[in-house]
């Protein structure tokens, strides 16, 4: 009898294990791996192959197409064919097939990611897409009678001394955003080489961040012609590379330089003018690898699971709280590391107990294994409340959790019953009752 049961148990364990491993294999990342690469010249595939190889090496499935390919399409039968887009076609005046500016923007609105690189030949189409993402490329400006579309970022102080051209348009940028999640935890030591056009970040757009900014001495102009009017972009207001994370967590990287991603810049050494240090390799390789990891959601993507709340001392989630109850709230947050979900560690996750406005806002403490928890007393206001976690951190996807819970007042019999200060009243009424009892005898039977 014992033996077969044992057998069954083993089988059950085996099945359970199978289920667990299957679940682990299923546990995919937050984003698919199909990326469309649009180029205006297939030579870009070769000249930027190190960047593409690093994407492919991380498991992205790249589909190279010419930007004016007449068979180009982003979706078929209502389903998107790609999860990401690399737009390395700065000069393309219009896309082929069914793709246009609106379909690219719809693609992003559907929560997909994009890397866009422009250069001084950027077309109105590319500029238009960038503008919709909150980034305004330096517009071609009118000089007298002739147009000058050749504006580039020039910096006579912070240029790369390795620049063979000598016109100081090869910028050695080192004003990087302080964010481990966008640029990786390893500091980028060497300056990032940049040659291209600058852009301004729309100040009213809070979703755009400057990742690589120009130095205060930079300006955007045509190096070949004399300046007549003040350049529209100068100083650290110029952004060289910006990122945008939309409210739906779609991520977009916009660079004013296509060369930034090229093999030539990735592999070349760099020496900043006036600096003694010569770096064997420019910071570009690390920069493009780390930022592309961020763009394609291999880093900084959070998920929240197991939102729980209960009264202190209990484990079940109640349907309703009473005012002044003590409650515990916990949520598990994990970050996608590119291969697996790792516990997220931070000390600034906050929960709100919210009805029209937050009544309680408390920072959650973490056990470093992904569980964030806190406890607090329900306010003495009744109504329908919400537990809200609105987590917006630089570079991370936003978390927005809310759970509704009603709060009721005390019931009539839940108030205090014996109040000391009421003892004189109690004593008075009971002594009256006792006196009445005695008096009834005296009144009826006294003779």
């Amino acid at each position: 009898m014992a033996a077969p049961r044992h057998h069954h148990l083993a089988l059950a364990v085996a099945v359970a294990l199978l289920v667990v491993t299957a679940a682990a294999a299923d546990e995919g990342g937050p984003r698919g791996r199909r990326v469309l690469v649009l180029v205006d010249d297939l030579a870009v595939r070769s000249s930027h192959s190190a960047f593409f190889a690093s994407l492919q090496g991380r498991g992205l499935d790249l589909d190279f197409r010419l930007a004016d390919d007449p068979k180009l399409s982003l979706h078929r039968y209502g389903q998107y064919l790609y999860d990401g887009l690399v737009l390395f076609a700065p000069s393309t005046p219009r896309f082929g097939g069914s793709v246009d500016q609106n379909s690219i923007l719809e693609f992003i609105d559907a929560g997909h990611d994009m890397i866009l690189a422009a250069d001084s030949s950027a077309s109105d189409l590319i500029r238009g897409i960038a503008t919709e993402c909150g980034v305004d490329f330096d517009e071609s400006r009118v000089y007298g009678w002739c147009q000058d579309p050749e504006a580039m970022v020039i910096d006579h102080i912070n240029y790369a001394a390795t620049d063979a051209e000598g016109d100081h348009t090869l910028i050695a940028g080192d004003d990087l955003i302080q964010s481990d999640v966008i640029l990786g935890s390893k500091k980028i030591e060497a300056p990032v080489l940049f040659r291209g056009i600058g852009h301004a970040v729309n100040p009213s757009n809070s979703l755009v961040l400057k990742v690589l900014s120009a130095s205060p001495s930079a300006y955007s102009a045509n190096p070949k012609s004399k300046l007549a009017s003040p350049p529209s972009l100068t100083g650290s207001a110029i952004s060289l590379v910006s990122v945008m994370q939309a409210r739906n967590n779609a991520r977009v990287l916009i660079s004013g330089s296509l060369d930034l991603f090229s093999n030539r810049f990735l592999k070349s050494g760099v020496q900043k003018a006036g600096s003694k240090i010569r770096h064997e390799k420019a910071g570009n390789e690390q920069f493009v690898t780390e930022t592309s990891k961020w763009v394609f959601h291999e880093r900084g993507h959070l998920k929240a699971v197991n939102v729980k709340h209960n009264k202190v001392g209990e484990t079940n989630e109640p349907g309703m709280y009473r005012i002044n109850d003590d409650l515990e709230y916990s949520v598990e947050i994990y970050e996608w590391s590119g291969t697996s979900w790792k516990p997220y560690v931070a000390d600034d996750v906050q929960v709100q107990f919210y009805m029209m406005s937050p009544y309680v806002l408390k920072t959650l403490s973490t056990d470093k294994k992904g569980v964030f928890s806190t406890s607090f007393k329900v306010p003495d206001v009744y109504g329908v409340f919400q537990f809200k976690v609105e987590y917006q951190r630089l570079g991370y996807t936003g978390l927005s959790l809310s759970k509704q819970i009603p709060v009721r007042p005390y019931r009539h019999n839940e108030y205090e019953r014996f109040i000391t200060s009421a003892y004189p009243y109690y004593a008075a009424s009971f002594s009256t009752m006792g006196a009445f009892f005695i008096f009834s005898f005296v009144y009826l039977y006294h003779k």
């Binding site: 190889a53 000598g166 400057k210 300046l227 030539r264």
Partner: protein, 687 residues
């Protein structure tokens, strides 16, 4: 090592380019193959941990690239590759021609020792493949394999060379391109390169002379093929497929490399001249060098295996007058090896606007140790700025002129930089109309200064400074910006200081609206910079206190300034709910004291009853009325007790329920007891 690998290869192409060309006035960034290529190659063809490079084709590409570039690889790796190839060759009957082809070539490059018997087997097998197939690739692999075996010193002869030649030629198209096999309709440029390579191999392998008329036809095909070449604006030429099929598309580099390989090898074996325009060869060379550092392993191989002849290049295009830089020119082959003895002359110097500065011919000195030609730029008497230099190359030895051409001049754009003298810097405020200067301060632009000025909207800000080049001329930099930044709102105003005006004035009267009527402190910053200026600077000058009129109602609002992204992401301040405080209660002692006081009346009542001498003589003596009286009082007691219970624990509904029962009972017994009492008292009264 690099030169050893590179020169024979270059020589083959040079045969092709009978009108030899020195590849010099290339796109600015073209530089010969360098150590950067070597390290890139080592990185790209990184061996996997077990020491192999992957499949046979990749292995061949790796070892061939290393051979050409002279990258040393350790013996173990070579042994592994040799063994890998030998295994394939040994099992010749079962391996496809492609594997045998690559394996034979690996052995050739690495000089592996392979048994001659093995090669006999391989040759037999490949010959069999040639007979059976009509696919271009199969033909290419088998013929190529045979050639590789032959080159390793093994005696191989293709018996029916003419037939094979015809079989390959049969696949050619009228526009010079080739089909992959007889069944396919699509022709391909890539295939053309392969076919040409195969044809040249056939010619080398043939036991007798191949029909020279056929060779002439193929030459004609090559010329046609070069008519399909594509070009970029900057004179770069490349081959690409006409029909881009994304799946089989090989990219311009692979396609161009295939064609160039095929054409060069064909030219090497076929006698006679190929009629290809020189600029197309130049353009192809530009194309391959213009790629810069190749990324994928395949592109690296393609860039290295084809080759281009000579490069004139400047190690640096920026020359500083301050450090008395010498003008250095390198003339090398593309692989960075030295060119034959030659003379380089600087014939012309052009200014930025194509104005001729000097036409005096100067010969550059040759430095044998560093292999550069040099010239001091100081005697040229050129000032800072951008110039175009025109060079001429002439070979010293006559016989080289059949190989290296000196034709054409090479133009290189350079920058001459120097320290710009900045002096006579003054800043001040002047009144609008009179122009009388109220306050002028001399400032030193070598370091940050902190002048403090104040002005109202009727005054002008004056700034003047003088820039002069090392040769004493006035210098007009590209960037001269004066920036005024409002301290409070961070609004910036930028003024371009025109290079011509010796004195720069800002008239605040016309700028009031542009300044958004913002009075207060403005920081002043001056940026001066130019590509030719070594001491470009950005200086804080100090500040100016502006007193502008009040803004009228419809004045434009200053634009919004970007907020610090970090500020909006930080954690919010914690909020904790303030609970209603419980009502204040008197101290317990007071409550107890008053409880005692409220109990006093009942005590007084009891004492009073005692004093009165209360008796219960009227209590019924008969058993039945006594029972009813007792029940009546017990009922009253129960009701009172119920009140106590109601206070302690019962709720209203339970209490009322009990009370209703007790009430009915009390009415009944009360009626009986009281009616008895009233009847007895009535009796007493009547009695």
């Amino acid at each position: 090592m690099a030169a050893a690998g590179g020169l024979p290869a270059s020589a083959t192409l040079l045969l092709l380019v009978i009108a030899a060309v020195a590849v010099a006035p290339l796109a600015s960034a073209v530089r010969p193959v360098s150590d950067a290529h070597r390290s890139a190659a080592a990185e790209l063809f990184a061996a996997s941990p077990d020491g192999s490079f992957g499949d046979l084709e990749t292995t061949y590409e790796a070892v061939r690239t290393f051979q050409i570039l002279g990258v040393e690889k350790d013996k173990g790796l070579i042994g592994k590759a040799c063994k890998f190839a030998a295994e394939k060759l040994a099992s010749s009957s079962s391996s496809p021609a492609k594997d045998l082809f690559h394996a034979a070539r690996i052995s050739g490059v690495l000089k592996c020792s392979v048994d001659s018997g093995v090669y006999d087997d391989v040759a037999t097998r490949l010959k069999a493949v040639i007979k059976d197939t009509n696919s271009l690739l199969e033909l290419y692999y088998s013929v190529g394999g045979l050639l590789s075996i032959k080159e390793q010193g093994h005696n191989v002869v293709l018996p029916d060379a003419d037939n094979t030649f015809h079989a390959i030629k049969a696949l050619s198209q009228s526009d010079g391109r080739w089909r992959y096999d007889t069944n396919s309709a699509e022709s391909s440029t890539f295939a053309a390169g392969i076919a040409l390579e195969a044809l040249s191999a056939v010619i080398s392998l043939a036991d007798s002379e191949v029909d020279s008329s056929m060779i002439a036809v193929v030459k004609n095909d090559i010329v046609k093929l070069f008519d399909t070449i594509k070009s970029y604006d900057d004179g770069t030429f490349y081959f690409d497929e006409k029909h881009v099929d994304a799946a089989e598309y090989k990219g311009p580099i692979t396609t161009s490399a295939s064609v160039v390989r095929g054409v060069t090898s064909f030219a090497a074996v076929a006698s006679g001249k190929l009629n290809i325009p020189g600029e197309k060869i130049l353009g192809l060379a530009k194309f391959f060098l213009g790629i810069g550092l190749p990324g994928s392993a395949k592109d690296c191989f393609n860039q290295i295996e084809v080759f281009v002849p000579l490069v004139l290049s400047l190690p640096s295009k920026v020359f500083s007058l301050t450090s008395k830089d010498q003008l250095k020119v390198e003339v090398t082959t593309v692989f960075g090896s030295a060119a034959p003895p030659l003379r380089v002359n600087l014939v012309q110097v052009l200014g930025s606007d194509s104005k001729v500065i000097t036409t005096e011919t100067k010969e550059l000195q040759f430095d044998l140790d560093n292999n550069v030609h040099y010239l001091d730029i100081a005697p040229l008497k050129i000032d800072v700025g951008k110039y175009s230099l025109v060079f001429e190359i002439s070979l010293q030895e006559q016989e080289h002129e059949t190989i290296y051409a000196t034709g054409g001049t090479n133009t290189e754009a350079i920058f001459v930089t120097g320290l710009i003298k900045v002096d006579k810097a003054e800043i001040g405020i002047s009144d609008n109309d009179a122009g009388t200067v109220e306050s002028v301060q001399k400032i030193d632009l070598q370091k940050d200064t902190s002048v403090s000025l104040s002005a109202n909207h009727l005054q002008k800000l004056r700034l003047s400074f003088q820039l002069s080049t090392p040769l004493g001329k006035t210098f007009k930099p590209h960037q001269v910006f004066l920036k005024l930044k409002h301290d409070e709102s961070k609004v910036e105003h930028l003024f371009v200081v025109p290079g011509s005006a010796r004195q720069f004035k800002i008239d605040f009267l016309g700028l009031v609206e542009k300044f958004y009527y913002l009075s207060g402190r403005y920081d002043l910053e001056l940026a001066v910079g130019d590509a030719a200026m070594e001491n470009s600077f950005l200086r804080a000058l100090g500040h100016i206190e502006l007193d502008l009129p009040e803004a009228p109602e419809k004045a434009p609002k200053p634009p919004a300034q970007a907020v610090d992204p970090f500020s909006k992401f930080g954690p919010k301040k914690e909020i904790s709910h303030i609970f209603r405080s419980p009502e204040k209660r008197p101290p317990k002692e007071l409550s107890f004291a008053f409880t005692g006081l409220t109990l006093l009346p009942i005590v007084g009542f009891l004492i009073g009853l005692m004093r009165l001498g209360v008796n219960l003589k009227n209590f019924p003596s008969l058993p039945a009325p006594a029972a009813f009286a007792s029940l009546f009082h017990a009922g009253i007691g129960a009701v009172l007790l119920l009140y106590v219970l109601f206070w302690i624990k019962l709720d209203l509904f339970t209490t009322l329920k009990y009370l209703s029962f007790l009430g009915v009972f009390l009415v009944f017994v009360g009626h009986r007891a009281l009616s008895y009492l009233s009847s007895t008292s009535a009796k007493q009264k009547t009695a």
